[in-house]
């Protein structure tokens, strides 16, 4: 029924057709002087079957990015620049009605907090049925017995055991993990080519987390859909994403294949992030955090957003005065790019105070 593509061809962004192309995306909240730029000039291309992780602290703009793509920024947020192309349709040019149509067929979202993700007064049956009716071609005409079996199959795919019982239940009768499974079920009810998961496991306990992640990984792979996975947890990203973008202060600061970035981070911020993860095997070492707080995004951007907290660039003139570009680091392989003034791009990306 569905084409199952495994293997490296589909995973290699260079070979795969692009499912999502984001160009120069800028998102703002509020208006006038108090406006906050949550996402600034983000470029991102995700190919079919690719799993892209986006990591960063709270306030780095990752959730705004995840919500801007399907057009779900809410009352105060809005996209002020750039383009979002999904399945060769520019979503920014669409009306509310037409972008709802795109969300029906092409893009699915799984949100962070499963406890609030479901309508509290509707049964699971009614909510999943709504998703099937909206998302599946011909789903509108499914009669009750066939709808039941369709919902059953969907929930079983999300590893829900007692499907018949869960269907009759209401959200408050399910655990957080179960609710997230239902939410994922609704997200994969159609043939979405892009699935956006915004910290889908953050609110869950560790065991449930890994079960849900594996399940998500499996259903996304089976559909050879593209996945945009937002998290603050680098360990999770390194477990099952192909590529990763590190966000800081609304900008992407480092990008590359997941394995390489985790093994050998280049940007001082990525280094800080990875240095803050304890390892079991590596013996005792001091965990290095990142001093200071994330930047206030309502301030004007003068130089590198990370400069005040950076162990390399703090006080360095170029870092204070000029916004660094996201440039390739050829020495680190084909797909690595980093937004930093101070790295030596020719020699293995080794961090040296090249400019000083």
């Amino acid at each position: 029924m569905r084409v199952v593509t495994t293997g490296e061809v589909a995973r290699d962004p260079a070979h795969a057709e692009a499912v999502l192309v984001v160009k120069e995306l800028t998102v703002e909240y509020g208006e006038g002087v108090g406006a906050v730029v949550a996402v600034k000039d983000v470029n991102m291309t995700i190919g079919r079957g690719e799993k892209r992780g986006v990591v960063g602290e709270s306030g780095s703009g990752k959730t705004s990015l995840a919500r801007a793509i399907p057009g779900l920024l809410g009352r105060s947020g809005r996209v002020v620049g750039g383009s979002i192309v999904v399945a060769s349709t520019d979503l920014r040019a669409l009306s509310e009605r037409a972008s709802a149509q795109v969300r029906r067929t092409a893009v699915s979202v799984v949100f962070q907090d499963p406890l609030n993700a479901l309508d509290p007064v509707r049964s699971i049956y009614s909510q999943v049925a709504e998703a099937i009716r909206l998302r599946r071609p011909g789903g509108r005409h499914l009669r009750r017995p066939r709808m039941r079996s369709a919902i059953g199959a969907l929930l079983e795919e999300c590893e829900i055991a007692d499907v018949a019982r869960v269907m009759k239940q209401y959200p408050h009768e399910l655990s957080g993990g179960m609710r997230q499974r239902v939410a994922i079920g609704m997200a994969i009810a159609g043939d979405a080519t892009l699935i956006i998961a915004d910290e889908p496991t953050t609110a869950l306990d560790v065991v449930t987390q890994s079960e849900i992640l594996h399940m998500l990984d499996r259903v996304v792979s089976q559909r050879s859909a593209a996945l945009l996975f937002i998290t603050h947890n680098l360990a999770v990203v390194s477990e099952f994403c192909d590529t990763v973008s590190v966000m800081y202060g609304g900008r992407i600061v480092e990008e590359g294949s997941c394995r390489d970035v985790v093994r050998q981070p280049v940007h001082p911020y990525s280094r800080g992030l990875i240095g803050a993860i304890p390892t079991i095997a590596g013996g005792r070492r001091e965990l290095v955090g990142i001093p200071g707080d994330p930047p206030s995004l309502s301030d004007l951007e003068r130089g590198c957003r990370f400069e005040p907290r950076c162990y390399l660039g703090h006080g360095v003139q170029v870092c204070c005065a000029q916004v660094p570009g996201l440039d390739d680091v050829p020495a680190m392989g084909s797909s690595r790019s980093v937004r930093c003034h101070l790295i030596d791009r020719s020699s293995g990306g080794g961090l040296g105070p090249a400019a000083a």
Binding site: R67, P70, L72, G74, R75, E96, R97, A100, Q101, R103, R104, T105, S108, V109, F111, Q112, D113, N116, A117, L118, D119, P120, V121, R122, S123, E130, A131, L134, R135, Y170, H172, E173, L174, S175, A183, M186, A187, A189
Partner: protein
């Protein structure tokens, strides 16, 4: 469930008891002599004494109360001092007029408040929001009889677009054949379009006047809860499924926002009953409220007592209905979480 019903019923009985005792004692403390009112200013002392004995006014207060309650339960609600007609009959003949007025007032309040809340929150319309808030403010802050008078002055006196305070129908228009005793409905059933239009014309102003305060209350409540619901994640999830923002709000936002407003319904009915007394007097509406005003002025014990007890009963009934509706609508109450 059985426990809840028992608790509610005992609460209802206590409410009824307190309301009836209060109205009974207060009326007995008024400086008026029913015997004198019945027999007139020229009656002899002996006749008055005899009449008091017949009415039981010589008995201790608690005996009178027990007699009254027993009589009330048996449908003997006393009689009108002026006409001698039984109170029960008077109330029953006037009740449909009050119910019809209350129905349209509530209809206006609920539909108006819902439409206003959805428009100001859902459509993010500042104009609708400001207008509705202003109307709600006026409705909550002004006595309904004053609003009624002003409306009459404006629409009947100056603009001549609506009839003045002449009751349920215009002069020369006869009542439609009685089926439901609501003139508007009966006229529709009988296919008398002219009568229907006339009845509508006459009920419009009193219903709007009576419904204004409940509208204000409901609008503020719904606006608030709809705002809160519209920030909930599940509405975004619904939009993520492919509903437009508007569809998500109507299908999932409004039902959730209605829940807190349901509790207010009982309160609103009380407000409606209280408001109806003076609004009916202003619009010369032949309902129970007008009867009560006249009865208070004439010191008619029976009517006022019956009215207070009936109002308490209505209040209790509405609250019971609301409580059971909650259980039907909100699954969290129907099946409490075990997790």
């Amino acid at each position: 469930m059985a426990h809840t019903i028992r608790a509610r019923l005992s609460g209802a009985i206590v409410t009824l008891f307190i309301a009836s005792v209060a109205v009974f004692v207060i009326l007995r403390m008024l400086p008026a002599d029913p015997a004198r009112l019945i027999l007139g200013p020229l009656a002899s002392a002996a006749a008055l004494q005899h009449e008091r004995a017949v009415l039981g006014l010589n008995q201790p207060l608690y005996v009178q109360y027990v007699d009254y309650v027993v009589g009330f339960v048996h449908g003997n609600w006393g009689f009108d001092y002026g006409t001698g007609a039984p109170v029960l009959k008077e109330v029953v003949t006037r009740l449909p007029a009050s119910l019809e007025l209350g129905f349209y007032a509530m209809l206006f309040a609920v539909i108006g408040a819902l439409a206003g809340a959805v428009a100001s929150v859902g459509a993010r319309s500042r104009v609708v929001d400001s207008v509705c808030r202003a109307v709600a403010f006026v409705g909550l802050g002004s006595p309904p009889f004053w609003i009624g008078l002003m409306a009459l002055v404006l629409f009947a006196e100056y603009l001549h677009v609506l009839p003045g305070p002449v009751g349920r129908l215009g002069v020369g228009v006869s009542a439609p054949p009685a089926t439901t005793h609501f003139y508007t409905w009966d006229a529709l059933i009988a296919g008398q379009w002219g009568t229907f239009a006339n009845a509508m014309e006459h009920i419009l102003l009193p219903a709007l006047t009576l419904g204004l305060a409940p509208f204000g209350y409901l609008f503020r409540l719904l606006r608030h809860s709809l705002r809160e619901v519209s920030d909930e994640d599940f509405l975004l999830v619904c939009q993520g499924k492919g509903l437009t923002r508007w569809q998500a709000l109507m299908r999932h936002g409004v039902p959730n926002a209605l829940l807190p407003a349901l509790t207010a319904l009982g309160l609103l009915v009380a407000q409606l009953v209280a408001g109806s007394v003076l609004v009916e007097a202003v619009f010369n509406w032949p309902g129970v409220g007008q009867l009560v005003v006249n009865s208070v002025l004439a010191r008619e014990y029976g009517v006022v007592e019956a009215f207070v007890i009936l109002s308490a009963l209505a209040f209790i009934a509405v609250n019971l209905i609301v409580d059971s509706l909650y259980v039907v609508i909100d699954p969290r109450l129907r099946r409490p979480s075990v997790i």
